[in-house]
Symmetry: C2
Subunit: 221 residues, 2 copies
């Protein structure tokens, strides 16, 4: 199993609040995410700034495209994003224009699974050319209080991987959760607050990388 | 039937391109929309600028919330928005937190209907407290070339109104289309390029208001 990458989700209300933890944790981060909140707060200026600062890292603009796919994708790729996100509620036509735009730029598309999707849709997305999906624990679900990972979550991720998707996990992954993923093929672990809000974001990010290596082996990415 | 309002969709790649047509057409516009594209391009700075310029107009931030509802809603309302949008693919939990946030601020929520929604869901949204829906002709659908309004479109809008929704129409409405809506109860007509890209945006907006008055009567809003 490939060693998963570590993505830092910069879901902050302004750019400086994103830059501070990213800059200190940068050596331990594989993928930089301009979060939806940051994109809406600061616009594509945030994506441009992150591109300028970290030219060699994978940069994800979490723009969660639901419609007007080609325009929003263009905006994000023009600003320097490598990857953009679409939501599972988008139509196949929207996903197709986003994929087309991504391929033109040598970029890629992550499809964010929002409650209500079906396995029939998942097979259709794969056929359409979508390669990455995000198994996401919603903040609003979290708000209702249940933070634990369930066996069903892992079964779902394995089944998505079996369909040929690279699976990103997002939404409140903690270092202590990593062993739970031992037999789940994960492409990217997305971590936000657990690194951003740590007293020492660099140490927190290093802890995640260590836990990933301990769980999946130290094999090169 | 109430006379519908006219909304100008400012879906531009930067703020100045939005300000130019809005400023000249402002006397004819009831609702100012900071479009998704503008929100992503310039962030909530665009919403703040529009609030500062047009304190007495209804200001919609078309943030198309799919998740992380309360945070994005807060961001938009803090910036001065009166209304925010959620997409039909969002979970009821997400819609509920957005509604709660809107009510706290004396604002409202428009639900954008993206292909794939069901009438069963629509009834549930109404029960949840959603009052406004957007019957939207997708840009990506338009990209496939079919620009005409179909009898089925109007039937759908009437049925939505019967359920108790205030219906906004978006996506390529032209002045010449207005008579088609004569017996459809519409709350807001959203117009973008037909006003923004007109040689004289003020005259174009006035034409829409005249066509609305001619279709629905000159009765006060």
């Amino acid at each position: 199993m490939h060693r998963p990458m570590l993505q830092l989700a910069l879901d902050t209300f302004d750019l400086p609040s994103a830059l501070a933890p990213m800059q200190v944790a940068r050596d331990h981060i594989d993928v930089v995410e301009a979060g939806t909140i940051l994109c809406y707060a600061e616009g594509m200026h945030a994506v441009r700034a992150l591109r300028a600062l970290y030219p060699d890292k994978i940069l994800l603009a979490d723009v969660r495209i639901a419609e007007a796919g080609s325009i929003i994708a263009k905006l994000a790729f023009d600003a320097g994003a490598d990857w953009v996100t679409v939501v599972s509620g988008a139509t196949p036509a929207t996903m197709e224009v986003v994929l087309t735009e991504a391929r033109k730029r040598g970029g890629d598309v992550q499809l964010e699974l929002i409650d209500g999707w079906t396995w029939e849709q998942a097979a259709a997305w794969r056929k359409l050319g979508i390669e990455q999906v995000i198994a996401h624990r919603s903040r609003d679900g979290e708000a209702l209080g249940d933070l634990s990972w369930k066996p069903g979550d892992f079964d779902e991720m394995r089944r998505l991987a079996d369909l040929g998707f690279k699976v990103t996990v997002a939404g409140g992954v903690e270092v202590a959760d990593l062993p739970l993923f031992a037999d789940v093929p994960i492409h990217v672990f997305t971590v936000g607050r657990a690194i951003r809000s740590a007293a020492d974001p660099a140490a927190a990010a290093a802890d995640f990388q260590e836990a990933i290596a301990a769980t999946y082996g130290a094999e090169a990415l």
